[in-house]
């Protein structure tokens, strides 16, 4: 992709995370990331890389560095306690036939 002796990995541009809204009314979903020099270029790159097959009608980009992530080391403490609380799932009552689209 790049000539030998040239900087690898998209010229040292920072990484941006890309979120695409596929249809009006739906939420933006994370689809991947692009390298770009700034936000405007990130939108263009996201458009060129991730919406070539009519995947979306709106794009968000956010600098990957600005994302604050949970620590994988803490996964047990954060997520294990939910495992034995099945009563939190709304499956313990009967849905009347008249209710559609649930």
């Amino acid at each position: 992709m790049t000539d030998p002796g040239k900087p690898p990995l998209a010229l040292g541009w920072p990484l941006f995370e890309v979120f695409i809204r596929s249809r009006a009314g739906l939420e933006h979903k994370h689809v991947g990331s692009v390298h770009a020099a700034d936000a405007r270029m990130a939108i263009e790159h996201a458009r060129d890389v991730y919406t070539r097959r009519q995947e979306g009608i709106s794009i968000w980009v956010v600098a990957s560095l600005d994302i604050i992530a949970s620590d994988p080391e803490e996964a047990d403490a954060l997520f294990e306690p939910a495992r034995d609380k099945v009563y939190r799932h709304p499956t313990f009552y009967v849905i009347p036939d008249e209710v559609k689209n649930l």
Binding site: M1, T2, K6, A10, L11, W13, V34, H35, A36, A37, R40, M41, E44, H45, R47, D48, V49, R52
Partner: protein, 264 residues
């Protein structure tokens, strides 16, 4: 045929021939520029730019297909888009000479793109009001694509022009080198005059000032100098080309020329 009928038919035929030539100019400019951009695929400075340039190329080739299909119908000799794209020789191509200029470095390709994008913005905007409804529809579709192309190319022009000393010098050199081909963009000839009088396309002179102002604004933002206007020595739209077009066509056409009718 009586002479009265012949006299009535002749102007119509002349208009038809001018329309054919006009549509081929638009089609060939998009086709040749699209082919040039295709040469970047696999070689762009970043994966994202590689896809971006490829997308531009596909848009342009899509425009060329619509226009060439229409040209084939106007011509009425049963040549379809493929026959027109792959089986005409260089002197039968009527693209702007600017479109066939070599890619050079990335900055040079960006300058060529920006000059043609800004030209197409004016041309397609005007054609939306065309008395020719087919052309108006094609222009409306192409204009949406062109707006993105222009966003892409003018953005890069400013980045490179107002970037490092190296990028500034390279992109200024590209502007200086390519500027001589811009005198053709809005130089009207008898085909353009006929299109204007038939209401098919606005007079080029009415569009040049807007193009010029837009280009000046972009050059200013990019801290680049506008070269002096040069006389009009290029006649790509009359089928007189620089030496580069033959090489473009050789690569684009060799498969159909070698294996006529090949499909895949």
């Amino acid at each position: 045929m009586s002479t009265a009928v012949a006299a009535a038919v002749r102007p119509e035929r002349a208009l038809n021939e001018a329309l054919l030539r006009y549509v081929l100019r638009l089609a060939d400019t998009s086709l040749v520029l699209g082919q040039r951009l295709g040469e970047w695929v696999g070689h762009a400075p970043a994966l994202e730019e590689d896809l971006g340039l490829g997308n531009l190329a596909l848009d342009l080739i899509g425009q060329a297909r619509l226009l060439l299909s229409y040209a084939g119908q106007i011509e009425g000799r049963e040549r379809d888009e493929d026959a027109l794209a792959y089986l005409r020789d260089a002197q039968e191509f009527f693209n702007l000479a600017l479109a066939e200029q070599p890619n050079g470095d990335f900055g040079c390709s960006i300058v060529r793109q920006w000059l043609i994008d800004s030209w197409q913005l004016e041309i397609y905007t005007g054609l939306q009001e065309s008395a020719d409804s087919r052309l108006a529809a094609i222009a409306a579709k192409a204009l949406k694509e062109t707006r993105y192309h222009y966003r892409f190319s003018s953005g890069w022009l400013v980045r490179l022009g107002d970037g490092t000393a190296e990028s500034h010098a390279r992109v200024q050199r590209a502007v200086d080198d390519l500027w001589r081909f811009t005198s053709e963009l809005f130089a009207p000839d008898e085909v353009d005059a006929r299109m204007a009088s038939a209401g098919i396309a606005p007079p080029l002179s009415s569009q040049e000032a807007r193009w010029s102002a837009r280009v000046d604004e972009d050059l200013r933002a990019a801290t680049l100098q506008r070269p002096a206007t040069q006389p009009y020595p290029w006649h790509g739209k009359r089928g007189v080309h620089t030496e580069h077009l033959g090489y473009v066509l050789a690569e684009m056409q060799h498969l159909q020329r070698t294996y006529p009718g090949a499909r895949w």
